[in-house]
Amino acid sequence: MSSRSEAAAPLRAAAPERRLRYVEALNEAVAQEMARDPRVFIFGLDVDDHKGIQGSTVGLQQRFGRDRVFNTPLSEDAMTGVAIGAAMAGMRPIHVHIRMDFLMLCMNQLVNMAAKAHYMYGGAVKVPLVVRSMIGKSWGQGAQHSQGLHAMFMHVPGLKVVAPSNAHDAKGCLIAAIRDDNPVIFVEHRLLYGTEAAVPEVPYATPFGQARIMGRGDDITIVGISNMAVECLRARELLSAAGIAAEIIDPISLVPLDIETIAASARRTGRLLVVDNAWMTCGASAEIVARVLERLGTRALQSVGRMGFAPTTCPTTPALEREFYPNPATIAERAHLLVRPDAPAWRPAAEDAALAYQLQFRGPF
């Protein structure tokens, strides 16, 4: 699980697992589904250029042709309508956006049409649509290239929302999203693109509504969304040095949300911390905290907490951006406070916090 514990892990007898980067996993998911199902197509700004959405669409046009892999004008609103119309006609579009922030240009189509069509028309149409959208972070992305806006989509009935935190789930979720008969908002964090995980070559669908416990522990339940799942795992390492065993849960899909797994864990540990890659107000973290407490009763838990973006616009300068996001050290510190409210204040040592960044999640999946 961690760089440290791994060193001690027993060698496996099985064949060496195949490892892929997150972008490669996305690419493979699309390629396999396009090969399987001629109705699948992928389009959006920059999908067919030489950079191919950081590699996630590279080679697809050569393989599947210009009719099924194509660039568009800068017209997010109409292009989303095109995707919805094509989906209603029986095709299975994947619409790619290099920043989630740009979804604000097609909210009308997503909220007023995609989310509602199946219901509003009494079941007469389906909208099997995947909207891939990237969250930016670091190096001056700033106010308009960094937003995690999944809460807005979670708010509206009729949309599914998934935010896989590793290459394995990226492939499985994208395949599941493509096969799903509903619009799925697919959230990809830019900093995850380079991360590797074991990714089986055979196509597989990661079921929505099933959270993954990424690390067991009895002292506190920490839910991490999107790349915050990874940051939470790092925090877990730091906490273990302080003798605190944190259970880390990656919900993977936010709609549907596997509240059972989260609530069961929180009931056992008695403490819940939700760490989101987004603002907290009316965010996924508010929803998870409220839903767990409604379900378990307030008295079931000793303490709850939320972390997310600072309640401010994202600044470009690294001096402030650093303070904008939760990180392993601040997560560990907060968890420590929830577990030992009366203990003296504790922070992980700076060098441990730095070391934590070497950790990558390696399963089990």
Partner: protein, 329 residues
């Protein structure tokens, strides 16, 4: 200056007797259905706001008659006419207006969200302009399918002010999609006249800059509309790119609801009178032999009575329907 790409109509277009009768039946049927809706309205049996097309029937009928059954149309919230003209089920429409489970959207959509996928009638939207790109997406699928099917997007003059309209024109032309753009220009968006909304009325000329052939029909002549569609649809089936039609029309009644509102002062009853002089129902009706016309009329009345009875008899949806269809299974 004639805009580039303009498609002039031949001087004297006309249609054969069979077509004439179909056109009459189509016009009269929409007129009478909507009059009936208006009549029923005060009874509080209709359960959603209605945007009547009375006076504008020629566009839907002229455009839909030449279409193949498997062609696709995308109506607006002012969509009774297009729904009916494309063969939408009248029972399903009436029950939908009644909020009954027998409605074409199971009572969940109402008048603004009619749908008839079995007749390739896309669902309408209450947000102006929203369905234009949907029709584009459908047209993209039809192009890939390669069976010569085409799609039609209907929209009002107001919708042409939304940015999505231009984005859609560009994409349709870029991909040479089999799509007819049909603008129903009734000069008003709710109560606001064109002068407060359009910098100029050079709409056709503008659309033509996308290399989309355009035509403007200002007199509401259903025969001309029919001729344009016949010719355009044939061209599109063999791979010609999209075309654009702007049709002037007059909405006889108020924007929403069953009545008239000339007393509100935003437009003149004299204009209504001019358009009524030219009423296509009467003009085409006058060219049909009286006994034939009487038989058509009678059949329409029976169909309407049946639809009202159907709507009355259909139950309201059960409470469980509330959460059905949020997600497709």
């Amino acid at each position: 200056m004639a805009p580039q790409g303009d498609v002039p109509l031949q001087g004297n277009v006309d249609v054969d007797a069979g077509t004439l009768e179909r056109l009459y039946r189509g016009l009269r049927r929409i007129r009478r259905v909507e009059e009936e809706v208006a009549r029923l309205y005060p009874s509080d049996k209709i359960k959603s706001p209605v945007h009547l097309s009375i006076g504008q029937e020629a566009i839907a009928v002229g455009v839909c008659d030449p279409l193949r059954a498997d062609d696709v149309v995308a109506p607006t919230y002012r969509g009774h006419a297009a729904y009916l003209a494309k063969g939408g089920d009248l029972n399903g429409m009436m029950a939908e207006l009644y909020g009954k489970v027998g409605g074409c959207a199971r009572g969940k959509g109402g008048s603004m969200h009619l749908i008839g996928m079995e007749r390739f009638i896309l669902g309408a939207s209450a947000v102006v302009g929203t369905t234009i790109p949907l029709a584009l997406g459908f047209a993209l699928a039809l192009k890939r399918e390669g069976k010569g099917r085409i799609a039609v997007a209907f929209f009002g003059d107001g919708a042409t002010e939304e940015g999505v309209f231009y984005e859609s024109l560009n994409f349709a032309a870029l991909h040479r999609l089999p799509l007819l753009f049909v603008c129903e220009n009734n000069f008003f968006a709710i109560h606001t006249p064109l002068e407060k909304r359009w910098a100029t009325d050079r709409l056709c000329e503008r659309v033509a800059t996308y290399d989309i052939p355009t035509t403007k029909i200002s007199d509401g002549d259903v025969i001309k509309i029919h001729a344009w569609t016949t010719e355009s649809a044939a061209a599109l089936r063999t791979g010609a790119g999209p075309r654009f039609l702007e049709c002037h029309a007059w909405r006889w009644r108020e924007h929403v609801g069953p009545g008239e509102d000339y007393d509100a002062g935003y437009r003149a009853r004299a204009d209504l009178a001019a358009w009524q002089q030219n009423d296509p129902v009467e003009r085409i009706g006058g060219r049909i032999a009286a006994p034939v016309r009487a038989a058509v009329d009678a059949a329409i009345e029976r169909e309407i009575a049946d639809a009202v009875a159907f709507a009355e008899a259909s139950p309201f949806p059960d409470a469980e329907e509330l959460t059905a269809h949020v997600f497709a299974e």
